[in-house]
């Protein structure tokens, strides 16, 4: 089963997770090493599908089509937005428990002082193809 793990970052200094721009070089390096090692392990275990980091929210645009006019394009940064998406993984694993375990591990990525960031990771199942015969029978209560 495929799951998407969404890494939300906070842009506000006052939140629990300090902005990455305030970390020391060693703290930042440790964070990158942790992420690299996490991906290496996921690949080695045959669970890695994709992982992408997203460019800064300063480059984000929100596009909304409007009736009878040109589309409305809003530019970042979105100071009023509490959290923003920093990156995501797609993993292919046995069950939801395993996806939650991977997310829990990712959440412990080190931050300032080498302490775990415990950042929130949203876990969402990726929609798949039609259910198997057995699943349909189970769903029908047979």
């Amino acid at each position: 089963m495929k799951y998407m793990l969404l890494m939300q970052f906070s842009g506000r200094q006052s939140d629990e997770i300090p902005p990455i721009g305030t970390w020391s070089a060693e703290e930042f390096r440790a964070h990158i090493d942790f992420m690299t090692e996490t991906n290496r392990k996921l690949i080695a275990d045959g669970e890695f599908v994709e992982a992408q980091g997203l460019a800064g929210r300063e480059t984000a645009r929100i596009v909304r089509a409007s009736a009878g006019g040109p589309p409305l394009i809003t530019e970042g940064p979105f100071a009023e937005t509490k959290e923003f998406l920093a990156g995501y993984w797609i993993v292919d694993c046995e069950d939801e428990d395993r996806a939650l375990a991977i997310a829990a591990h990712v959440s412990t990525a080190p931050g300032p002082g080498g302490r775990p960031l415990n950042m929130p990771i949203e876990v969402r199942q990726v929609m798949s193809g039609p259910p198997t015969e057995a699943e349909r029978e189970a769903a029908a209560g047979r």
Partner: protein, 425 residues
């Protein structure tokens, strides 16, 4: 490392297949006048060879084998007699020696010069100015580079079906513009060669800087660009800019091994371990460039290669001949004016004279380039040199927030963290 074909091929066979690919396609496209179908047929012949040669051994005449199989495949597609022909192909390829004698009678009449003309015509067609850069790059890698669609897709991190469609659409676009498999006129040729060089340079920069994704260097594409630039120079030995292009690639790629740090971050030129630079490539690039500059008008690729050579020849960062680099950027800015060239000139000016002078020139670009990560990264470095730490910090952050390259972002964040510590301490 070269991407693998469906069956693992040894390096010699892989090289042979990819050298023969454009030659076979050139002959077939010229004979039939149908580039699109010929291109698909050659791709299938290459895949057939990759499947069969490792087991059956190399045919006596590999070029004739490929040409024959591709011709049959093409006939299949044209006549729609897939089943019957496939049986024939299977029968024929079981006897590799037979394919040599089965080659058309006029084969021996194909001179080496004619073969070169065909390959050049092919290169010019694949880099047709009517194509978008991304399409031209994909089509060139497949038709001239002899790569499979799967290999190209992997290099660009897109699904194979997507890359397949991109190539098909490129061919449709060529057909729609009425371009044919024929040499351009003498008047058209210089402009068309410009397009070829631009496309090959794009392949190289994509491999070198990797505009997206987690890895800074995608070696396969840079090596492929060097191979194609060598081919272009072999086809046009008197073309000084073709030599300049190859020299630029070699002189830049020579620094490749020293360009990435342990955290996968970019290592800037002045901090690179110069003992890890590839001296053979530096020597080859410098030799090519010196010969080219004697030959004719100096173009933008030779100028950029000359700048790269000055960096490569400096035993230490401090020993870099910045006044000479500044002079070259000044000529380049006159020849091909662009904000990015001016930006590089400003950095060279700062290094050759004072950071303040460089910053003053950089400020003239602010209206055009504010919000562009290159601008903020350059200004951050110059502000740091000038001792303006708060200004440098702001610019490092602005650049890190705007770059789409993970290794570059990591480098910029590490740099600003280091500066933060210096400001605190």
């Amino acid at each position: 490392m070269t991407p693998h074909r469906p069956d693992r091929l040894d390096v010699e066979t892989e090289d042979l297949l990819r050298t023969l690919a454009p030659q076979v396609l050139g002959v077939l496209a010229r004979r039939t006048g149908d580039f699109d179908t010929a291109e698909d047929a050659v791709q299938e012949a290459l895949l057939a060879a990759a499947r069969q040669w490792p087991g059956d051994g190399l045919p006596d005449n590999p070029r004739g084998w490929l040409l024959q199989v591709a011709s049959w495949r093409m006939a299949d597609q044209v006549r729609g007699e897939q089943a019957r022909r496939s049986r024939e192909v299977r029968a024929a390829v079981r006897e590799p020696a037979g394919s040599a004698s089965a080659a058309p009678a006029d084969e021996s009449a194909e001179t080496a010069a004619g073969e070169r003309d065909d390959t050049l015509t092919l290169l010019l067609l694949c880099c047709h100015p009517a194509l978008t850069p991304a399409s031209a790059v994909a089509l060139t890698l497949r038709s001239v580079g002899g790569l499979t669609t799967a290999e190209i897709a992997r290099a660009f991190l897109v699904p194979e079906t997507t890359m397949g469609r991109r190539i098909s659409r490129a061919k449709e676009r060529i057909a729609a513009t009425g371009a044919r498999f024929a040499p351009p006129t003498e008047a058209e040729l210089p402009g068309r060669l410009d397009s070829v060089r631009r496309v090959l340079y794009l392949v190289f920069t994509e491999g070198y800087a990797a505009s997206g994704g987690p890895s800074l260097r995608r070696v396969e594409l840079a090596e492929e660009a060097i191979r194609l630039a060598r081919l272009l120079l072999a086809l046009r030995p008197a073309d000084a800019e073709a030599a300049g292009l190859l020299a630029l690639m070699l002189l830049t790629e020579a620094r490749g091994p020293a360009r990435t740090g342990p955290a996968g971050e970019l290592v800037p030129l002045d901090e690179q371990d110069r003992s890890r630079w590839d001296t053979a490539r530096i020597a080859e690039g410098t030799g090519l460039l010196t010969a080219a500059m004697r030959r004719g008008p100096v173009g933008p690729y030779q100028l950029q290669a000359a700048i790269a050579a000055l960096h490569d020849e400096a035993p230490t960062a401090e020993a870099t001949d910045w006044p000479q680099i500044l002079a070259l950027y000044t000529v380049l800015d006159q020849l091909t004016p662009s904000p990015l060239v001016t930006l590089n000139r400003a950095v060279a000016l700062a290094m050759a004279t004072t950071p303040a002078a460089g910053l003053a020139l950089l400020e003239t670009l602010a209206p055009t380039l504010t919000g562009h990560h290159h601008f903020h990264a350059a200004r951050a470095h110059l502000r740091e040199r000038a001792g303006d730490l708060p200004g440098a910090l702001t610019d490092y952050r602005a650049a890190a927030a705007r770059t789409a390259s993970t290794p570059e972002r990591n480098y910029l964040l590490l740099r600003q963290a280091r500066l933060n510590a210096a400001a605190d301490g």
